[in-house]
Amino acid sequence: MLRPMYLNAADVEVLALGCTFLGAGGGGSVAAAAPLLRHTLEVNGTLPVVSASALDPDARVACVGAVGSSTVMLERLPSGVELAAAVRALERHTGTRFQALQPLEIGGVNGLLGLVAASRLGLPAIDGDAMGRAYPRLDHTVLMGVVPASPLALADAGGDVMLVDSAGDRSVERLVRAVLPAMGAWAAVCLHAGTAGQYARHAVPASVSRALTLGRAWTGRRREDGADFLAAAQARLVFTGTVLEIRRTRSATEISGVISLGHACEEDRSMRIDFANEYVAAFDDGVPVSTAPDITCVLDARTWEPVSVERLAVQQRVRVIRLPAPETLRRPHPGRLDLGLRGYGMAEVGTEARP
């Protein structure tokens, strides 16, 4: 796609919806960033969104997003200043100007924040991201092992900026998590400074377009059974039923748990959904029907609106759909963490039982 796509304020609603779908029930609420992106686009005009391959292969690019608690972000709202500050700090440190910016993570709030940064700094946004969905860790990116995560810059809403000059890809997550409490639970981050050529080869392509397609498919659905939406979104409906139980286990470092669903029509059929920050894997009577990196979404049965992990409630009537993961998430690469079940600390399911 050589011709750039232009994004304006009117697209924000469908884009936000698409990002929510790609968040797989996690990734943080887009409510914190949608008005900000709309306002930024209204002020700065349309934002060109280009494919990384359309850029000069040597053009300097980086990923932008937020890291930390998305719940706190709903209280300490982002203003866009911190995002710009993080980008500028990394530019100053590396001594280069970035020619385009890419969202770090397309799933959830980060899908919008990367575009806010590009718009604010007057740079084109790259139609891609480093995760292809939502992941809970900073090192769950496809750029790991290709473009070093550091140097990276962190900036918080209070104006504090922190630079990590050099950190191993394995240490980045640990270091950043350690400073987050001091920066107010969440911070803007700019990392993976590299070239457009590297991004074109390794980043997840066309993520922003995918989010838009998903959002448009949802808002444009006409049929009661959702068949048109599912076809347009390339999604598969895997289960319809009622939430019987939500078992949450909260440890100091991670959120996890299991949701049990009873089927709407067949009384003895059940589904088990293992979740962390996102829905991770769904098993229909012991058959894995959607496992990470595939994107599992739980939708309200009546309104078809996506329901996040923390808002799901017992007795809710829901539909479970599977969105295929970008192919690149399945490809192992030296230096990259497992982006499947193992990445969530879950035992692999193996492929044999796939229906």
Partner: protein, 528 residues
């Protein structure tokens, strides 16, 4: 021949899996287990699953991923397709999700979460041994029981505890009358337990039970020992039967010792009582000392008690013990009961002079105690007499004699349970001599012989009732629930048999007295 196939229920009942949680698939508990296999988590999708196998799924390997519970769902699905009979998960701490429980229920595959820290390999080896060689496991249990009995096999409580511990069950020892001598009240109704004539095991509802009747010196079963366990299967019942037969020796020894001691004590007490009754106020200090040791007070005010007990199926060794316990429960604390020719005697002693209605108060408590005694033991008839208060050793003979007389009168009432106080006897005391005189009893036997030879119980009962109801055919008919013409017919028949006419007052008196005498002692009905 016993079915030797091991079912999952049998394995679940093993002590090793005692605190394991069954999370689902209860409908499949009786599936036969033919094999035990360990399937490592990473092989859940690939391992070959033999049919009728029990799968041990070890979770919690520290090097592996943290979350493995979803593998159980995959395993259940595969197990269902491969007709696996059950799954045991080890090393799992948290609750199993509802979806997984529902899946186990749907496929009826019993799924057990083994207690924390139970290593999979020894567990699998143990289960495999039980499945392939149930006798090895049985021997292990029997060996454990034998070792326990060797050190703690003397007292009944110890033996019962050994059985309970070894079989991981509730054990109880009770008498034919349902008195629990050791252990807790059984879940199975006592009549079901004591109806067992030989070592056996059966199942009532969900509870498996094995029962061993232990015969006393008299030859009939005097003690029943039962072990019960909920949810256990045939394997456990078989093992329980074997354990009971191992415990039979110690139990028999205990029972024999107990009965011999009772016999010896009874004889000692009998001699002692004879001494006291004979010498009255002039007992030697040695006798007084022995009496005190036997639990009898000689000084103070005494109220004699006398009991006449009988049971259609014979009296158990423990009946008198139970009676003593019932008396204590009703706040009556007499000395030990001593067996006499026609029953058991004892007395209650108060250190101070007693009020005039003392004997009646005692009788009231006694009535309560005997009611409770009879409520728990159907078929026992009991008649009790209470003597008047008498002072010191010299008075004991008097009050006991009175109590005995009162008991005879009580027995003559024909009720299942009767208590009489000697002070209330009045005119009926006059008849006592007749009732208890052996000469008259012989005469009564002679008069009534033609009637007794017919063995027509109805005829005798009708005659008795007719005489007691002032020879009114109508009232007799009402009491017995028959027509007055039937009464008249029967009386005519009785007159014919006896060769006497009931219209004569003397004849009526003689026949009525003879019938009373017969009822007071059932001697003539036994002799032919």
């Amino acid at each position: 021949m016993r079915d030797e196939a091991v079912r999952f229920r049998d394995l679940q009942a093993l002590p090793t899996l005692n605190s394991a949680r069954l999370v689902g698939g209860g409908a499949g508990l009786d599936t036969v287990v033919r094999e035990v296999e360990i399937v490592e988590p990473e092989a859940v999708m690939t391992a070959e699953l033999p049919p009728a196998a029990l799968i041990v799924l070890p979770f919690g390997d520290t090097d592996g991923p943290i979350h493995q519970e979803h593998l159980l769902d995959l395993m259940l699905r595969r197990a269902h397709l491969a007709k696996v009979c059950a799954i045991i998960v080890t090393g799992h701490h948290s609750e199993i999700a509802t979806a997984t429980r529902r899946l186990a229920d749907k496929f009826a595959i019993p799924t057990l979460v083994a207690p924390d820290r139970l290593p999979a390999l020894p567990l699998a080896v143990h289960l495999r041994t039980v499945v392939h060689e149930p006798r090895v496991e049985r021997s292990r249990i029997l060996h454990a029981l034998t070792s326990r009995l060797r050190t703690h096999g003397e007292k009944l409580d110890q033996i019962v505890t050994c059985l309970a511990t070894t079989l991981d069950a509730a054990a109880t020892a009770c008498t034919a009358q349902g008195a629990v001598l050791s252990g807790g009240e059984p879940a199975t109704p006592v009549p079901d337990i004591v109806s067992s004539r030989t070592l056996c095991s059966f199942k009532t509802g969900d509870t498996s039970i094995a029962v061993l009747p232990v015969s006393g010196l008299a030859g009939s079963a005097a003690l029943w020992v039962a072990v019960e366990r909920a949810g256990a299967g045939a394997l456990w019942r078989g093992t329980a039967e074997l354990c009971l037969s191992v415990a039979h020796g110690p139990l028999l020894a205990w029972l024999a010792r107990e009965q011999l001691t009772a016999e010896r004590d009874a004889r000692l007490r009998g001699t002692l009582l004879a001494e006291i009754l004979e010498h009255g106020g002039a007992v030697t200090s040695a006798v007084a000392e022995q009496a005190a040791m036997a639990g009898w007070e000689l000084a103070g005010w005494h109220v004699g008690l006398h009991f006449r007990l009988s049971h259609s199926a014979g009296l158990s060794t423990f009946t008198v013990d139970t009676l003593a316990r019932e008396l204590a429960a009703a706040q009556l604390f007499p000395g030990p009961l001593v067996e006499r020719a026609d029953g058991w005697s004892t007395w209650i002693t108060s250190p101070q002079a007693v009020p005039a209605d003392h004997a009646h108060k005692v009788a009231g408590k006694l009535t309560r105690a005997l009611k409770a005694f009879r409520d728990r033991r159907s078929g026992v008839t009991v008649a009790a007499g209470v003597g008047s208060p008498q002072r010191d050793a010299s008075g004991i003979a008097t009050t006991l004699a009175e109590a005995r007389q009162a008991a005879v009168i009580a027995a003559s009432s024909g009720d299942g349970m009767a208590v009489r106080v000697v002070q209330d006897l009045g005119a009926s005391r006059l008849l006592l001599g007749w009732y208890s005189s052996s000469a008259f009893r012989d005469y009564a036997g002679q008069i009534l012989r033609p009637l007794l030879d017919t063995r027509d119980k109805d005829l005798i009962a009708t005659l008795e009732a007719y005489l007691d109801r002032s020879c009114s055919a109508m009232q007799t008919g009402r009491v017995l629930g028959i027509h007055r013409n039937t009464v008249s017919q029967r009386m005519a028949r009785a007159e014919k048999l006896l060769g006497l006419s009931l219209s004569q007052a003397d004849t009526r008196l003689a026949v009525q007295l003879a019938l009373r005498a017969l009822r007071t002692s059932d001697l003539p009905t036994r002799t032919r």
